[in-house]
Symmetry: C2
Amino acid sequence: MVQRTGKKLLDCVRGYVDDVPPMWIMRQAGRYLPEYREVRASTKGFLDLCYTPEKAIEVTLQPLRRFDLDAAILFSDILVIPDALGQNVRFEQGEGPVLEPIENAEDLAKLEVSKVLDHLNPVLETVKGLRSSLDENKTLIGFCGAPWTVATYMLGGRGSPDQAKARLFALAEPELFQQLMDMLVEASAEYLLAQFDAGADVVQIFESWALNLDEVNFQNFVVNPTVKLVEKIRAVRPDAPLIGFPRGAAAMVPGYIKATGVNAVGLDYAMPLEFAREHISPLATVQGNLDPLRLVSGGKQMLDRVDQILEAFEGRPHIFNLGHGIVPQTPIAHVEALVNHVKGR
Amino acid sequence: MVQRTGKKLLDCVRGYVDDVPPMWIMRQAGRYLPEYREVRASTKGFLDLCYTPEKAIEVTLQPLRRFDLDAAILFSDILVIPDALGQNVRFEQGEGPVLEPIENAEDLAKLEVSKVLDHLNPVLETVKGLRSSLDENKTLIGFCGAPWTVATYMLGGRGSPDQAKARLFALAEPELFQQLMDMLVEASAEYLLAQFDAGADVVQIFESWALNLDEVNFQNFVVNPTVKLVEKIRAVRPDAPLIGFPRGAAAMVPGYIKATGVNAVGLDYAMPLEFAREHISPLATVQGNLDPLRLVSGGKQMLDRVDQILEAFEGRPHIFNLGHGIVPQTPIAHVEALVNHVKGR
């Protein structure tokens, strides 16, 4: 077994078990923090914040100043990849991301994988800056969107509850779809490897739209591309610590872990604890899975649920986290209560 | 064992197995049919269509004239219940339903269960009319929304991808929430019993928003109220044939069936066939679960998937259906191909 590094969260991803689980909070650098809103207001837009290392470093570190968290997660967005490939990405107030959707071979031909790392150099500078700013025992998490999830935006032009445009494109134009996915696998592998080179300890692959797929589509859109992505990373870094987060995959999560070989898996809050315990290999690290709205509401219902989660995963490698991103209306006092409770048991 | 009725779909709900499964299509009376759009255009609005028996009967029967389907499903909407309770419900063009959200005890006090059946008399007239119009071997399906799903609209004021307003209300105001749920159980039980009295053979309980719930919320919001609803129905009609459809419940579906005792369960398209086969009791009838976008796209990918579904459920009671409602852009020729394929095997 590999030696412990002293970074509690990294060690947990590698399979070590502690009495008190390490924790971070998805979207922990975000709008629920006044200091984040202040920095955000000083930028020309969301992508400007992602591409300005000084500011991105600042907002990444903010939550660790307030709360006893075990990891910082790079402040960035999954849509920097399409942006870097040459597809125009804008973030509109109250609307989320807007892209010129990819609709045919001509649109696809305009994208260039070779440009990606140059374009994302500011993000990699952020990772380097974070590496030198962080305490030694804190884990630095990098990330990217999984190919399918990124493709849903590239094909759909914006977020949608059912990803219908992307799903229809994949069924109607399987070859073009495959070209796009191969491009995303390639770009994401280079990007994640560059994040490791810049100092990331662990990376998380966000498959935010793993729901709404039957198992054939899940295999073709989610599992196969993620397997390729993991292979490309491990060909260079055989022991790269990876967290997969196939949100909404439910009964397909155990198969996803086996096929992809990720070290750890993020569980959304709709994953029943008993199902996870019974069907996910005890060698895989689990991460999750408090409903963010329980954190908004706070009090006994939250703490009771936290205890259930902690008890369910006692004795196995477990990173405490939410089951989805923290929401803007979350009271900071509730976050403090949560962290104290997890850490103080 | 109960005798066969000759209504193939009803018999299947009761556990009989046929070589060729009975089939219907969720939202089969809908916008993909030009004859539906014509009737719809002649009304003052969506609820007007639901409350005009002559027109509701016409659109209910339309898909059976075109396709060899085994059931007609009452044309109505799950939001007739809040409308009947006294909450204002409007359907706005391109926006879906809009309600004045329930926010406190005063709002709740304005609702009246005693008014429901009077208000819904036109819907019950539709059921009666359908009963006398339908061929003897066709099953008539009635339905209602499950309490939680209806509550998400009553509390949220409109549809939302995460039902956040309703989920927060349930956590913050558990007593008021319980009052609302009890009211919905009561109203829905009376409404479904009245549908049986009017001639429905089977009823389906649509839990369209069973996703986004951790297992504690799933138990409290979905399972417990549905158990109460089923009890109230079975207290009057012990052998009432019931289909539950907890959309998105994934790994929680087997527990839902056991707890509620529904005869049949609708499976959304994200339910892996292998999981269903292994974890759902072979005595329960399964219904589903083709992705509606496969029907939009059509051709080989659709027929291959249909074959997988049929093979997975061979030898057990299975109603062929989509895993969610048919969408407006579905080509009618693809529906014909689907029906011919299922029926012609």
